[in-house]
């Protein structure tokens, strides 16, 4: 085999790898957009934005020292490098296997809903058949939080266990709200198909306008699920140090910290598609650029704005007490979620649906 043939074989393999693995839509969506890479970029930007916005409200600079010209934007990169090279301490009393596996499992499972969402209306670029995609995405989004509880239990630390117990209370409370709010669009449009749901919103009437209660409910449920203010309860610093993450250090701690944001990202993408019009008002054109990248960019930008609003709440609120958050969830938000469902049914009955 001479050099030319070898080069051709390798380039064929490379092309195959590129074309059939990386650009295979389920893999692409999981790894690149809106999965891991996009999520990391957005999270790095979002943490910077969160610190910067809070700093503006609080009359200080926020991240600045690394590159003052860009407002300290590379600060998060520096933090990530620090987490990466920091010593990884695993307590001897911890359950080694669960201690190591749980954070990684949580990270991967938080991104899993991204495999079930469409980024365009062109079927060539769909990761999976879209028939029941909303149901699948919602189901996948509920997998990750259980690993926070596993982490807490594996750490074998009292603060971790208390944090884990709080997390499990919160999971039970918010999951029903999030699921019902997301599924409240189904009776209105008679479909679980996310592409159909977005296409309906092309008319300019976003479902968030048709059913604002469901949108609000989902917004609060996302805050609860990702321990955003005012529901930063499982890892409340003043009693529980870092809650379930108390014993974690180094890179795994970084993963844990990013994990909450990545879950928030996954939910924000879902919320954008269902309530905020997805890639509307843009109509995907032919070709990969106009047919995939532009609409996915629109979704990413909308979801980023949703995240930014959530991040800003840090500057306004303290945290609720656990029982107050739970009573808010069970006594107010869940009835509201059912009401939102009822509104959708009523709107379908009275013919708001085209």
């Amino acid at each position: 085999m001479d050099m030319v043939t070898a080069a051709k074989v390798f380039s064929d393999i490379g092309w195959g790898l590129f074309h059939y693995i990386i650009f295979y839509p389920p893999v692409y969506q999981f790894i690149i957009i809106p999965g891991l890479v996009a999520a990391l970029v957005v999270v790095v930007f979002m943490i910077w934005f969160e610190r910067k916005a809070a700093a503006r409200v609080q009359m200080r600079y926020g991240p600045l020292e690394i590159s003052p010209r860009t407002g300290g934007a590379p600060q998060l990169i520096a933090d990530l490098i620090r987490y990466t090279v920091q010593e990884l301490i695993i307590p001897s009393a911890a359950d080694f296997f669960a201690f190591i596996v749980a954070p990684n499992a949580m990270l991967i499972l938080s991104l899993l809903p991204m495999v079930a969402v469409p980024m365009t209306s062109i079927s060539e670029y769909w990761p999976i058949p879209m028939g029941y995609s909303l149901l699948i995405a919602v189901a996948l989004s509920t997998l990750a939080p259980i690993f926070t509880v596993v982490m807490a239990w594996a750490s074998n630390n009292k603060f971790s266990v208390l944090g884990g117990v709080r997390e499990s209370f919160i999971i039970v409370a918010y999951e029903l709200i999030a699921v019902i709010s997301l599924l409240s669009v189904v009776p209105l449009l008679h479909t679980f198909n996310l592409v159909d749901i977005v296409n309906y919103q092309m008319s300019g009437i976003w479902l968030g306008l048709l059913n604002p209660i469901a949108l609000l409910d989902l917004f609060i449920a996302i805050l609860m699920s990702t321990s955003g203010f005012p529901f930063e309860i499982p890892d409340s610093e003043t009693e529980l140090v870092a809650g379930p993450f108390t014993e974690y250090s180094g890179l795994i701690y970084g993963i844990n910290m990013g994990g909450g944001y990545i879950r928030r990202w996954a939910f924000s993408v879902l919320m954008t598609l269902v309530f905020l019009g997805g890639w509307a008002p843009y109509r995907p054109g032919p070709g990969i650029l106009l047919g995939y990248f532009v609409p996915s960019l629109i979704v990413v930008v909308k979801a980023t704005i949703v995240m930014a609003i959530m991040s800003f709440l840090r500057a306004v609120y303290g945290r609720y007490r656990l029982d107050q958050a739970l009573s808010l969830a069970w006594e107010v938000l869940i009835p509201l979620a059912f009401a939102a469902f009822g509104i959708s049914v009523a709107e379908a009955f009275f013919g708001v649906h085209p």
């Binding site: 609080q58 409340s236 003043t238 009693e239 945290r319 007490r321």
Partner: protein, 415 residues
């Protein structure tokens, strides 16, 4: 050691061996914990509810009372400041007053106003510190940054007045260390205006924030009788409806001539304690304005008792009068007499209202260069016992809401 320590284990919190009840979970919050300060709180939890709370003090004990017995009279002022450096003037003032009683001297009128002025500046700085720490306990980072940023205004005022940000050592026997600089009155008035405006904003984002109100209303209630029983002092007692303030019951320094009110709240919960501090800041701002007006109106004559002032060398007096261009005006070094001061034998006690409540000193002299005995009772020491009785029955997340509302300061109660 008390009875029942058969194994020789003393019955101290955290050191005793006790069977823990079934279904009770013991958590040690502190001494090295983001939400505890320099102390440990041993909490027993039944589910999410605290059933037993044991504040375990002593982590930052520095044997100050014993150290004081080996230092000259004047050198104890910088020592006692270290109890609460953010409230330095209030903390050392009763020591100075007690020694003045032993020396049988009375500071001049101007010194009294200067002391009251710095006391109120310290009180505001101390309250702002307390508000900030309390807010960050509740997760409200904005008011934490605001309070600490605005505290800087008053720290700066104190620096203008005394030359030091925190450890001023300002009141000394027979007077104070220096007079106000020329531009002080206008800066002080500006700071007062600014702070009044800021307090309204604090109320908007923090005290009237529904989220914060929900956390604080009805949490950690101390009734009037309970507060009296436990011997709570300072703003915490006043928030429970006890109108007790040393400035009121036993006026000292310039307070008899100053016009101010003692705010009192009846509720006795964490929210009342938070509001109490805001109202006290407003009163302190009034006092600062009055003191500055008085100081501006009256001639600069004598901020130090003659007994000490007459021992000052000519250089000191030249600096004070501004005859030496490179040295600032109205400032002097410590009088030479302080270095070898011997206090006549006797016993004296004094108390003032510090930021966190009444602080009491008992000073005993046997006529030497060092005190024979100095006893200090600090407000935080008297307030700490409340945790043991107020916290049980509340949820674990109420611990910071109660703990922060008391404006704790471990270095002060550990001395």
């Amino acid at each position: 050691m008390s009875e029942g320590s058969a194994s020789g284990v003393p019955h101290l919190p955290g050191m005793e061996v006790r069977p823990v009840e079934r279904n009770v979970y013991e958590v040690q919050i502190g001494p090295s914990h983001p939400g505890s300060g320099h102390m440990r709180i041993i909490v027993e939890l039944d589910g999410d509810v605290m059933v037993r709370v044991d504040p375990d003090i002593g982590f930052v004990h520095r044997t100050m009372e014993k150290l004081a017995e080996g230092r000259g009279w004047i050198k104890n002022i910088p020592l006692f400041e270290r109890m609460a450096i953010l409230d330095a003037c209030n903390t050392t003032l009763p020591y100075v007053e007690a020694v003045e009683k032993l020396l049988d001297i009375e500071p001049p009128e101007r010194a009294k106003y200067l002391r009251a002025l710095l006391c109120e500046i310290n009180r505001i700085a101390s309250h702002l510190y307390g508000i900030g720490i309390f807010a960050v306990f509740l997760g409200h980072s904005t008011i934490y940054m605001w309070a600490f940023g605005d505290r800087e205004v008053f720290v700066q005022l104190a620096e203008d007045l005394t030359g030091a940000r925190l450890t001023h050592s300002y009141p000394v026997f027979g007077g104070v260390r220096r007079d106000i600089p020329d531009d002080f009155p206008q800066n002080a008035r500006k700071a007062v205006r600014y702070m009044r405006y800021r307090l309204d904003e604090y109320a908007k984002i923090y005290l009237n924030n529904p989220n914060i109100r929900k956390r604080l209303e009805g949490v950690g209630v101390i009734s009037k009788t309970k507060a009296a029983e436990l011997g709570i002092v300072g703003p915490n007692a006043r928030a429970s409806g006890i109108k007790y303030d040393v400035r009121l019951v036993e006026p000292y320094e310039a307070y008899p001539e100053l016009d101010f009110e003692i705010p009192v709240f009846e509720e006795g919960d964490s929210l009342a304690r938070a509001w109490q501090r805001v109202e006290e800041i407003k009163q302190s701002l009034n006092i600062i304005e009055q003191a500055v007006d008085w100081l501006e109106k009256h001639p600069r004559e004598g901020f130090m008792h003659d007994k000490f002032w007459k021992t000052a060398p000519k250089l000191y007096k030249d600096v004070y009068e501004g005859n030496i261009p490179y040295a600032g005006k109205y400032r002097v070094k410590l009088m030479p007499l302080f270095a070898t001061l011997k206090v006549p034998p006797g016993k004296a006690a004094a108390r003032v209202e510090a930021g966190r409540g009444e602080i009491f000193y008992y000073v005993e002299s046997d006529g030497k260069e060092v005190p024979y005995r100095v006893r200090v009772i600090t407000p935080s020491f008297r307030n700490v016992i409340a945790f043991k009785y107020v916290m049980p029955g509340h949820r674990l997340m109420d611990l910071p809401a109660i703990y922060g509302s008391f404006d704790y300061f471990p270095p002060e109660w550990d001395r």
